[in-house]
């Protein structure tokens, strides 16, 4: 169950011609999930900054 299914790095990339489909799906998936985290963190940072500025001015 824990044996590597491929013999070398090229086989991992190529996956018998299916590598383009498999790796593009995971690349897009990982990018979208990471981007969502970054956007959420950025929004929290932004709104906190606005509230702090408002607090300081009042």
């Amino acid at each position: 169950m824990f044996d590597l299914a491929f013999n070398n790095f090229n086989e991992i990339l190529d996956m018998d011609g299916h590598g383009i489909y498999v790796w593009s799906v995971y690349t897009i998936g990982i990018s979208m999930i990471l981007l969502s985290f970054l956007v959420a963190k950025h929004r929290i940072h932004d709104i906190k900054k606005k509230i702090k500025t408002k607090n300081a001015s009042s």
Binding site: M15, H18, Y21, S24, I28, G29, M32, K48
Partner: protein, 211 residues
């Protein structure tokens, strides 16, 4: 946990006898579509709480969950389309499962658009909740579409009752990927909810004190 599931599935799970290595998309596709439906179901429960008991937080949670639901549904559709090219010979087919999932994606976008189009946010929360409750009818349709209609999409390989037609060497990484994506989306949901609560309640003293 998600990384573990994906590495196991991508590198250590054996090749499928029929689909070859293209089946490895399953470790992203199946968790994505499971959570696309579960997030909507969660939103429907929140919508009922908002409409019946006027729980303000429930509406905030819907608004925070909708973009995550849209993102994960899009990912499910996209991964399915890419998987369809080597498996079915086409990236799109207007069959019941795929079309009902596309409707789910449009529902998510509709909910976000509807909420964004009102300046009165209380009214927007109420209308958004009504739309979410109406749209929940699509969830059992997606689930049962492969049984009710003759579709290109295969029937469910794993069922809630515990049955599975997948070999354990492929099933375990799939289950780990599902649990891993669940934790990832919960973390994202917490961040997104926090950001939306800050946005909506920014004039309240408790928020100003907490920053």
């Amino acid at each position: 946990m998600l990384t573990l599931g994906w590495i196991w599935g991508l590198l250590f799970a054996p090749q499928d006898a029929v689909q070859g290595n293209s089946y490895r998309i399953i470790f992203l596709h199946v968790p994505s579509v499971i959570f696309a439906e579960l997030i909507y179901f969660f939103m429907a429960i929140c919508a009922l709480m908002h409409l019946v008991w006027r729980v303000k937080l429930a509406a905030y949670l819907i608004k925070a969950a909708a973009p995550i639901g849209a993102m994960i549904t899009f990912l499910g559709l996209l991964s399915g389309s890419i998987w369809g090219i080597p498996t079915w010979g086409t990236w799109w087919q207007w069959d019941a499962r795929i079309t009902s999932t596309l409707i789910l994606f449009i529902m998510y976008l509709g909910i976000l658009t509807l909420h964004g189009s009102f300046s009165n946010k209380e009214k927007a929360d109420r209308l958004m909740s009504i739309l979410v409750v109406i749209g929940v009818i699509n969830i059992p349709i997606i689930k049962k579409s492969v049984d009710w209609w003759s579709t290109l999409h295969q029937p469910a390989s794993i069922t809630v009752s515990g049955g599975s037609s997948i070999d354990p060497s492929m099933l375990y990484p799939l289950l780990i990927s599902i649990i891993g994506l669940g934790f990832t989306l919960i973390s994202l949901g917490i961040l997104s909810s926090r950001s939306y609560i800050f946005t909506r309640e920014k004039n309240k003293k408790w928020i100003q004190d907490s920053v």
